[in-house]
């Protein structure tokens, strides 16, 4: 896996996803999407509800298999990988950020951030040191031993970003990262993602309706009815 890290791009070709209802195709959520995304690039995927943004993001995050087409991440065709290999690939190469933060309430802030490292087999105290460093970078050290339920939305999202970055993945996927945040926290979150991209060379793909994000992105991909309707640079 290490050999394919810090690669140049994500590339999809004719990516198609169909959802079935009782074995009958009901919705073609993504249709023939071909994209090329470079390393360190921030891409915003926008579009109305039901346009296929989240389905596309799920496939780029190796959470969902396409019915047709290929996805190459870091030069590797992930559509050819088994479920076990995909799990391993996600663990080492992809960081996730969600609208509802998705922190585990039963774990402390420190443990939430440490979790991907533990899953990757990194033992304490190394995992703890790295999680502490990630929290320090995101100015959340003072909350390390708190449980997520006492944090504000903005703080939760910072923790989620720390968790996404702690394993040093090549790609960060963010689903509506500002959706549950007030204006300032949202701005700060996007700024943090931008820093991750600029300073660390992470490829950041954001799915969002939030118009304020547009000028942070290097590229905006607009989707409609499962297809890429327009690609533009802000």
């Amino acid at each position: 896996m290490n050999g394919i890290r810090h690669c140049l791009m994500i590339e999809t070709e004719n990516l198609t996803k169909v959802y079935f209802n009782n074995s009958h195709p009901s919705v073609q959520a993504v249709k023939d999407v071909s994209l090329k995304i470079g390393q360190g690039e921030i891409v915003l995927i926008s579009g109305p509800n039901g346009s296929g943004k989240t389905t596309l993001l799920s496939m780029l995050g190796c959470l969902l298999n396409p019915h047709a087409g290929t996805i190459r991440i870091c030069g590797r065709d992930v559509t050819a990988l088994s479920q076990k290999e995909l799990t391993e690939f996600r663990l080492r190469n992809i960081g996730f950020i969600f609208q509802n933060f998705r922190l585990l309430d039963s774990l402390t802030v420190m443990e939430n951030v440490e979790l991907p490292l533990v899953l990757a087999g990194i033992r304490r105290p190394v995992s703890r040191d790295r999680a502490a460093a990630a929290l320090e970078e995101l100015k959340m050290s003072h909350r390390a031993n708190f449980y997520p339920n006492v944090l504000s939305g903005g703080e939760k999202q910072r923790v989620a970003i720390a968790r996404a970055l702690v394993n040093d993945p090549a790609v960060i996927l963010a689903d509506e990262p500002t959706g549950s945040l007030d204006s300032n926290s949202g701005q700060a979150t996007v700024q943090l993602l931008r820093e991750a991209s600029r300073k660390r060379g992470k490829t950041v793909i954001i799915v969002s309706h939030d118009e304020r994000i547009r000028h942070f992105a290097d590229r905006i991909i607009s989707m409609e009815d499962g297809r890429v309707k327009k690609e533009e640079r802000p």
């Binding site: 959470l63 799990t87 309430d105 440490e114 979790l115 899953l119 689903d175």
Partner: protein, 368 residues
């Protein structure tokens, strides 16, 4: 390692304690049943174990003291006495006698023995004397407690009054208690003098039971002879055939209830934390890791239940024994180990449905 399983289970304390409490009751039930079983086992064989008889002789086709009938001439004892290696013999007569004690119908497992001969004496006397005279009885402590009897009290059996001369221990087979009287009185109650059920033989030093039995079988081919060990085993087998399936059935039902409780707790937890599990899958948790999270939660709940069960058993058993005097419980390390193994099995079985549910959670659900 982050204690994900422990934290998840601890997050829902009420559910955890209800489950562990339920499993504790299951554990207590299993421990109690095994304790009663052990007590029945010991109580029904302690007379044989503590007897000095090396050989038990009985009618052919009769194999045990508990559930087979044997009648043979008392005079055979004199013949056995003459056999090589035999030191002494004593006949005992076992009869079932029905009576009423303080208005309650009671069936007695009555043994007639020769008070002058130690071979047939009851195991342990705790009150009174073993050297009883005609018209006297020795009863078990549980029996005495159950009917509030003390030495000096009288019981009427088949129209004859018997005075309790002593109270003993080791004669409580739970389902029934052994009562001892003189051989002469037992024969009178049966209506056949000079009849015994078993002849008990003790051997001279150096004589082996197997050799003596071989010789006795040659001279008495229509009778059965058993070494002490064989006879105890026969009685245990007989008792296990009758009682054990009932105990195991109840214990099995308890185990199923325990597994259902664990399954319910974890299944509910998996459903409620569906998105957490989806997140774990999304960020790269391997199937084995998630399986261990479920199994650990199941183990934590089961072991907590086991500990609660041990505590409940320690507290409630004496109370139950007071409430039901005829009952007897013997706790052994083996029983604790068996129940612990059962609890581990319950943990495994209880995880099956939650693990299946978990396998049907897709990482993409994290976007819900």
């Amino acid at each position: 390692m982050i204690p994900v399983a422990r934290r998840m289970i601890w997050r829902e304390k009420a559910r955890f304690f209800i489950t562990a409490g339920g499993l504790g009751l299951t554990t207590m039930l299993m421990l109690f049943l095994l304790g009663v079983y052990e007590a029945v086992k010991r109580g029904s064989t302690s007379y044989m174990r503590e007897s000095r008889a090396d050989i038990w002789a009985c009618e052919s086709n009769s194999t045990n003291l508990l559930r087979s009938s044997s009648f043979m001439p008392a005079s055979l004892g004199t013949e056995f006495q003459k056999a090589d290696g035999v030191r002494s013999t004593s006949g005992i007569l076992r009869i079932l006698a029905t009576t009423k004690i303080k208005g309650k119908p009671v069936t007695l497992f009555l043994f007639g023995f020769d008070p002058r001969e130690p071979l047939g004496k009851p195991p342990r006397i705790i009150k009174g004397r073993a050297e009883i005279s005609p018209g006297e009885l020795i009863v078990d402590r549980a029996f005495a407690t159950k009917f509030k009897l003390i030495p000096g009290d009288s019981i009427e059996i088949h129209g004859r009054s018997f005075r309790i001369a002593a109270v003993g221990e080791g004669m409580n087979a739970v389902v029934t208690q052994f009562v001892f009287t003189t051989l002469e009185d037992a024969q009178k109650l049966l209506g056949f003098p000079n009849v015994v059920s078993f002849h008990l033989l003790s051997l001279n030093p150096g004589a082996t039971a197997e050799t003596v039995i071989r010789d006795l079988k040659k001279s008495h081919p229509t009778l059965s002879f058993f070494t002490k060990k064989e006879f105890i085993r026969n009685n245990l087998d007989e008792m296990e055939t009758g009682v054990l399936p009932i105990f195991w059935t109840i214990a099995l039902l308890g185990g199923i209830i325990g597994a259902a409780l664990i399954a319910l707790m974890l299944y509910g937890s998996v459903l409620e934390k569906r998105e957490d599990y989806a997140l774990l899958k999304a960020i790269g948790a391997r199937s084995r890791f998630l399986l261990f999270v479920i199994l650990k939660q199941s183990l934590i709940g089961s072991i907590a239940g086991f500990m609660i069960g041990i505590a409940l058993d320690a507290v409630l058993s004496p109370v139950l024994l007071k409430l039901v005097p005829g009952l007897s419980v013997v706790m052994t390390l083996r029983a604790v180990i068996v129940v612990f193994a059962a609890v581990l099995l319950i943990a495994g079985l209880g995880s099956w449905a939650p693990v299946r549910k978990l396998s049907r959670i897709f990482p993409m659900e994290v976007f819900r």
